[in-house]
Amino acid sequence: MMENREDLELNDRLQLIESMIAEGRRTTEKWAWTFVLWGVAYYVAIAWSAWGNATLAWPVTMIAASVVTGVVAGRIKSNKAKTTSGRAIGSVWMAMGFTLFALLMSLSVSGRYDLHVFVAIIGAMLGMANGISSMILRWKMQFACAGVWTATAVAACFTTDNQVSVIFLGAIFFCQIVFGIYGMIAESRRHGRSAAHA
């Protein structure tokens, strides 16, 4: 009887270890809002370049979106734990952001800017970053977004100006706005569950 009680207590300890390890590894960071923010930033830049100053629209909007992302992320980041997978995903997006900015700025300044090249580069880079994130997180929805961005990049090479614009606007809507809102809902549900668990 006594031995049984001790076994139960030890099993209880093992279950505690398992549940706490799982809790620690669960992604706690909230990043879905950045998809919505950058989706809106893309739309602002497209609208501004179409009806306003085409030279300034993209660099100014992208810098503004980067600043807003940095400030908001800095404020949200308190009360967290750092995980290796979180750092890996963050590194991919940061590297992609810097590369994309440097490349597009260089194309723009050198006068080699072309709508098809522009959409192909954005599509390829976002397809790669979403693909890596989705494989680390094992998130099918994000993997689908990676597919859409890659398809957009390929389509940009074979379509007309009007077609590529429509494809780009559609990809932003589905992979930034819709996916971002879906991610925010998923994160708030997960947060609710872990708060109840704690």
Partner: protein
């Protein structure tokens, strides 16, 4: 009859075990995050973390972020080793009863 292993008393405490298990899955964690995950009070959590620090199982780093104090905890190699040995000892003690 084979000799049964002894369980490390520093780790065996339920809250200390929960803390080490949480820290093994992350690179570093804030005090507030650990408190939320364990549902512990500030005083109890601080006391148990101090015991783990004293044993050399966790390392503490205090800093200021946006003028707010932040206390970060990370598991040391000694802590990782001790938790591994603890789990092995427990499995040995449980023997056939494990998972049942």
């Amino acid at each position: 009859m084979p000799e049964l292993p002894e369980l490390n008393p520093v780790i065996h405490g339920k809250l200390r075990l929960a803390l080490l298990s949480l820290l093994v899955g992350v690179e570093e964690a804030e005090f507030t995050w650990l408190r939320a995950r364990t549902g512990s009070t500030d005083g109890n959590l601080g006391a148990q973390l101090a015991k783990l620090e004293e044993a050399g199982y966790v390392a503490v780093e205090k800093k200021f972020v946006l003028r707010k104090p932040q206390t970060l905890y990370r598991m040391t190699e000694a802590g990782r080793l001790a938790l591994g040995e603890y789990v092995q000892a427990m499995k040995q003690l449980l023997g056939g009863a494990i998972g049942g």
